[in-house]
């Protein structure tokens, strides 16, 4: 029901198009040559990995992309040549040098067929997360119901075995923004489980936020994926401390005394933590993610076309950087977080 307006408008347009006729036409625009594509996301003190491939003309029937393994990729740090990257196959090139925060990284890639492309970015600095406060709010209570089939009575039995409490775990993440510099961020939340069998499992959590930093453009009935990459900037808190609000839904259960909890419903971990990661990201990565998000939400005929951001000169793709800033919060075992 949530998407019904979109649904019926699309039916309306489809109705118009049904009465229309289609004709294949020649493309008479300026045909652009295939371009070299560079993709790389840098992090401080991590290996630089660059992916090179070739773009396809939009009417090309081939839907797979040709990887480029025979290019010469060079790394410049603060405009000084550091090294030539090594091809690892599959279009991947790696450097030995580990970038540091504050460094300006430039990558060039040369190829006999596609010429030379280049891109540069700044490795963003760490920021301080001074605190991460939590609070819990109950949102809904529903009965826990078990269904089973009674063969003797030949009917399905419905049995209430307890109560399910749905709650929101609210976070106030206090970040210290640096003044006089446009900062870009990306919020991520992970769930880390310390398993009884010794494993350590980290999964990405989806979270809600009504924080102003994510903008007010929320078409809640249509754009369910609004700001799916959770990027924001410091427009409203430049140089100040800011408490970012995030919220994660979780469940708790209260079983009836006579209900015996089956083993498969018991937790197989002995500790769980929420990891809140406020990444400092480069402007290029911010713009790239914003445009990727816009492209993800694109609705044919109803949306403006999207130009995916690129900072690769003479080619396309993205060179961005991200610097992780994490805070960990231990949560009770009784919280079932999905």
């Amino acid at each position: 029901m949530k998407t019904s307006i979109k649904h019926y408008l699309l039916i309306l347009i489809a109705g118009v198009i049904c009465f229309s006729c289609e004709t294949a036409i020649e493309f008479n625009g300026d045909t652009s040559a295939d371009l070299m594509v560079l993709n790389s996301f840098l992090s401080p003190d991590s290996v630089i990995s660059v992916h090179l491939s070739k773009s396809n003309f939009f009417l090309d029937d081939n839907e797979t992309f040709t990887l480029i393994n025979d290019a010469q990729v060079k790394l410049f740090v603060n405009d000084e040549l550091k090294e030539t990257l090594t091809s690892k196959g599959q279009g991947i090139y790696e450097a030995i040098y580990l970038p540091k925060t504050g460094e300006r990284i430039k990558l060039t890639a040369s190829h006999s067929k596609y010429g030379q492309i280049e891109a540069q970015t700044l490795v963003e600095k760490y920021i301080r997360i001074s605190s991460c406060d939590t609070s819990s709010v109950a949102t809904e209570t529903t009965p826990l119901v078990n269904y089973y089939y009674d063969y003797e009575r030949q009917k399905t039995i419905i049995d209430t075995v307890g109560t399910n409490y749905q709650n929101n775990l609210n976070f106030k993440v206090n970040i210290a923004d640096s003044a006089g510099y446009k900062n870009y961020y990306r919020a991520k939340v992970y769930l880390a489980k310390f398993m009884k069998n010794g494993d350590y499992v980290v999964t990405t959590l989806y979270f809600d936020s009504n924080d102003l930093v994510f903008g007010t453009a929320k078409d809640e009935v249509v754009d369910e994926n609004s700001n799916r990459y959770n990027v924001f900037n410091d427009d409203i808190f430049d140089g100040k401390n800011y408490g970012l609000s995030l919220s994660i839904p979780y469940n708790t259960y209260a079983y009836d005394e006579d209900y015996e909890i089956p083993d498969y419903e018991k937790p197989d971990y002995y500790k769980q933590e929420i990891i809140v990661d406020i990444e400092s990201i480069s402007k290029s990565l911010y713009l790239y993610l914003k445009t990727r998000e816009a492209a993800d939400n694109y609705i044919e005929f109803f949306s403006e076309p999207v130009q995916i951001y690129t900072n690769v000169e003479n080619g396309i793709g993205i060179l961005g950087s991200k610097t992780s800033n994490q805070k960990r919060v231990t949560v009770p075992l009784s919280y079932e977080i999905n």
Partner: protein
């Protein structure tokens, strides 16, 4: 310099005031049906001074005492001359008679105020007779589509009544129906306009060089006047067409002092479809189903003449588009369970406008018009799904009622007073004040879900959307039409507007000026300058008009749009036979809004400020028009050479990486040829041929590999590279429309059969272009496998191929 100008103006005024002058005034009407004639020329051949009648047919001319030789002329009507000695203020009401020699004439831009002798440029008067003669889609006469054939006006997509004037956007046009703004001018997604030509008397389009009395939009003003009604006898006509039927009645109401004019039309495709839907539903065992779409509109006007000094008009327009459905979506039945899902849908959108107007002649020099207005556009949508599910084991019964209601719109109340003052023989002054109160309803959605499951009831009731936004607007204007001498004539004016919204006031002072220089008796040069501002925006994503399109006001963050336009042109009349004009313009615009990449406004205005960017635009071009007004063959050829660009490069507002890009409806060439020929009283034919450069579109020309986004994998490994906004031009557009009318005089009136062909040579013009991928699977017996090959083709979608139509009408 400034002092000299003031002294000069003062001297002219004083000289005129001190002379012994008298005023001649009155109303100019059509002698046959008593309709007032707008912009009718009044010219004194002795003093070489003239004026034109205003929107209510009133004229006032002040002349020196002595002999005057007044001529009243209006193309298509025989001229009337009055030669007499002027000794005191005089009232002369004129009843113009259609000329037997000229009655076959169709006319465009005929009026003296806009022709060679007037100061007004970039404006065209389009008689309704001409609009009716233009061949139309499905034979449905359309005012806006007729205006699209004029130079400087561009249509939107194929078949739509989209209106783009001199590089402006679709929301930059002010449509005034009897002086009341009308917001949604489209029926059926823009394929038809809301204006019923049967109800109209006069249509004037201003493309630039706006008189100071108009304000509120950047690009054009379309001023439509409804007919008052015949005071002598009941007249009317009805017509039956392929998609709609219309009726128009006019006549006296109780006495000749009170007249009425009533027009109504309704499409009936939905009524014709109902029996087929019922038969189909019965055959398929689907129960009672009904669905359909229709639109209707009603225009009504009552005019009461108290005296020559006082007249009262009450006019109204109401029109709606309606989509309805009541049908089974899904159902099944088994031994253990049954399920039925039924959809109910009701969408209504349309305008309601009313106006009450009082014309009062304060004295023979000062005419006052006071109007109270109400205009409302609303879109009310309701969709409901009812589901019933019954299960025998385990026994359960669930009923769910889900409804989504969406309401949006805009409501205005207004009060305005306009004055026409004939100050001196050389000066006519217009001034007035306009107050408006706007209420914007930017989209409220109410979602209700009611579930009854085994006697347990659960209700969810969610309301989303913004609160109403209220705004107040004040406009003041003064314009002065000054005849300096036989060569130079000036129209200078000032328009002031103030707009209060969300605790913020936006003010705008807009100078307007135009000058005419007579080079010879039939050749003049004109130039004009106009500043315009606009306080409302229309949020719309698609290329066709949708009911979800939303009017929103400027806000604290979004400032009013503003334009500056300069224009200049030459106007030549060849032996009262053909008029030629060439006009050039250059327009700059700022605070334009464009939607950000990926922005969509399909059903909500929530947070719209975050979805738009503010930028600048410029457009410039040259328009040529040659029109033949007299004779059995009439028509015009119009050509426009134009360019329109946008630049959004302010930090945070960058579009197209901050580089200039073509506007959505930038078109280099636009040519239209409109011809009609009257063979006899029984047969006339008309044809139009249109050629234009294709519309702009955005087409990504490269696809490339995109890495997954860590943590939130988008699953898209291919993204499209769009090098520039509006980087692709659709194929050129051209079309020929033809129509023939067969008239026959009957006992009580005239019947007309109209045969028309839209797109006569079946040109497949593009409505949109997209990349179509087809897959072909072939079985390989050697490997015993299927191989699938894909093929991509650039595909154009054409909506309207050749469409013949027929209609019958009877005029009595």
């Amino acid at each position: 310099m400034k002092k000299s100008l003031i002294l000069f103006a003062f001297t002219i005024i004083l000289t005129n005031l001190l002379a012994q002058n008298h005023t001649i005034s009155g109303y100019i009407k059509d002698g046959k049906n008593n309709e007032t004639l707008i912009n009718c020329s009044v010219f004194d051949g002795i003093n070489r001074l003239g004026t034109v009648s205003n929107n209510y047919g009133f004229y006032s001319i002040t002349l020196p005492k002595g002999v005057v030789d007044l001529s009243f002329s209006y193309v298509g009507y025989g001229p009337i001359n009055k030669r007499f000695t002027l000794t005191r203020d005089t009232i002369i009401n004129i009843n113009m008679q259609e000329s037997l020699e000229l009655q076959e004439v169709t006319v465009v831009a005929n009026h003296r105020d806009m022709g060679v002798k007037g100061t007004q440029m970039s404006a065209i008067d389009v008689p309704v007779t001409l609009i009716k003669s233009v061949p139309a889609l499905f034979g449905e006469t359309d005012v806006l589509k007729a205006l699209q054939l004029l130079p400087g006006v561009q249509a939107g997509t194929e078949g739509s009544s989209g209106f783009y004037v001199r590089g402006g956007g679709p929301d930059e046009n002010l449509f005034l129906l009897d002086g009341v703004p009308i917001y949604n001018v489209n029926h059926m997604g823009g394929f038809f306009s809301v204006f019923n030509a049967d109800a109209l008397k006069n249509v004037t389009l201003y493309k630039g060089d706006f008189p100071a009395r108009f304000g509120g939009r950047l690009s054009s003003v379309v001023d439509l006047q409804m007919k008052d009604g015949n005071p002598y006898k009941l007249h009317g006509n009805f017509s039956i067409g392929l998609i709609s039927s219309k009726i128009n009645l006019e006549g006296p109401l109780l006495s000749s002092k009170t007249t009425f004019n009533l027009s109504a039309r309704r499409t009936y495709y939905d009524l014709l479809m109902q029996p087929f839907i019922k038969i189909y539903s019965k055959q398929e065992g689907l129960g009672n189903n009904s669905a359909g779409y229709y639109f209707y509109d009603v225009n009504a006007k009552i005019t009461h003449t108290f005296s020559d000094r006082d007249k009262l008009f009450v006019s109204a327009y109401m029109g709606d588009d309606v989509i309805y459905a009541n049908m089974i979506q899904d159902e099944y039945e088994s031994t253990n369970s049954s399920y039925e899902s039924r959809l109910k849908m009701n969408w209504n959108w349309g305008n309601l406008i009313t106006a009450i107007r009082w014309n009062h002649l304060i004295n023979n020099k000062l005419f006052m018009n006071t109007t109270g207005t109400f205009t409302r556009y609303r879109f009310d949508m309701g969709i409901g799904v009812t589901e019933h599910e019954t299960n025998i084991d385990p026994p359960s019964k669930t009923s769910t009622n889900s409804t989504v209601k969406y309401n949006s719109g805009i409501t205005d109340f207004g009060l305005k007073t306009d004055f026409d003052y004939s100050l001196t023989p050389n000066q006519d002054v217009k001034f007035g004040v306009n107050l408006s109160n706007h209420t914007f309803r930017p989209g409220v959605q109410v979602v209700k879900i009611n579930t009854v499951s085994d006697n347990i009831t659960e209700n969810n009731d969610t309301t989303l959307g913004n609160a109403n936004i209220h705004a107040n607007e004040l406009a003041l204007y003064i314009e002065d039409n000054i005849t300096l001498n036989s060569i130079f004539k000036i129209n200078a004016g000032l328009h002031y507007s103030a707009f209060w919204v969300q605790g913020k006031a936006y003010q705008s002072l807009e100078p307007r000026a135009s000058i005419r220089a007579m080079i010879s008796s039939n050749l003049s040069a004109k130039a004009g300058y106009a500043v315009m501002s606009q306080n409302v925006h229309l949020l719309s994503n698609s290329n066709i008009s949708l009911p979800t399109d939303l009017w929103v006001p400027v806000t604290k963050r979004i400032s009013p749009m503003k334009s500056h336009q300069i224009s200049a042109g030459l106007f030549y009349n060849f032996k009262n036979f053909i008029d030629f004009s060439v006009e050039g313009y250059y327009k700059t615009m700022k605070n334009l809004i464009e939607y950000k990449d990926g922005a969509s406004f399909m059903d909500s205005g929530t947070g719209w400020e975050d979805k738009v960017s503010l930028g600048e635009g410029k457009s410039y071009g040259v328009e040529f028009l040659a029109q033949k007004n007299l004779g059995k063959t009439t028509g015009w050829v119009g050509y426009t050479l134009a360019k329109s660009d946008r630049l959004f490069n302010k930090p945070g507002n960058e579009l197209n990486n901050g580089k200039e890009f073509p506007a959505k409806y930038d078109r280099r060439h636009d040519l239209s040829i409109v011809l009609s020929h009257k063979f006899s009283k029984k047969i006339d034919v008309a044809g139009t041929w249109i050629y234009s450069t294709g519309n702009c579109g955005s087409l990504a020309l490269q696809n490339y590999y995109a890495p997954a986004i860590d943590g939130y994998n988008s699953y898209n490994e291919s993204i499209s590279h769009l090098s520039q906004r509006n980087n692709y031009r659709l194929p050129d557009y051209h079309r020929l429309d033809l129509s023939v009318n067969f008239h026959k005089q009957k006992k009580h009136g005239t019947r007309t059969w109209n045969l028309s062909v839209y797109n006569a040579y079946n040109q497949k013009n593009p409505f949109l272009v997209y990349v179509k991928t087809t897959y072909d699977s072939q079985f390989d017996p050697t490997s015993n496998t299927y191989t699938t090959k894909s093929k991509k083709e650039l595909t154009k979608v054409t909506i309207f191929t050749i469409i013949p139509s027929i209609s019958y009408s009877y005029h009595f």
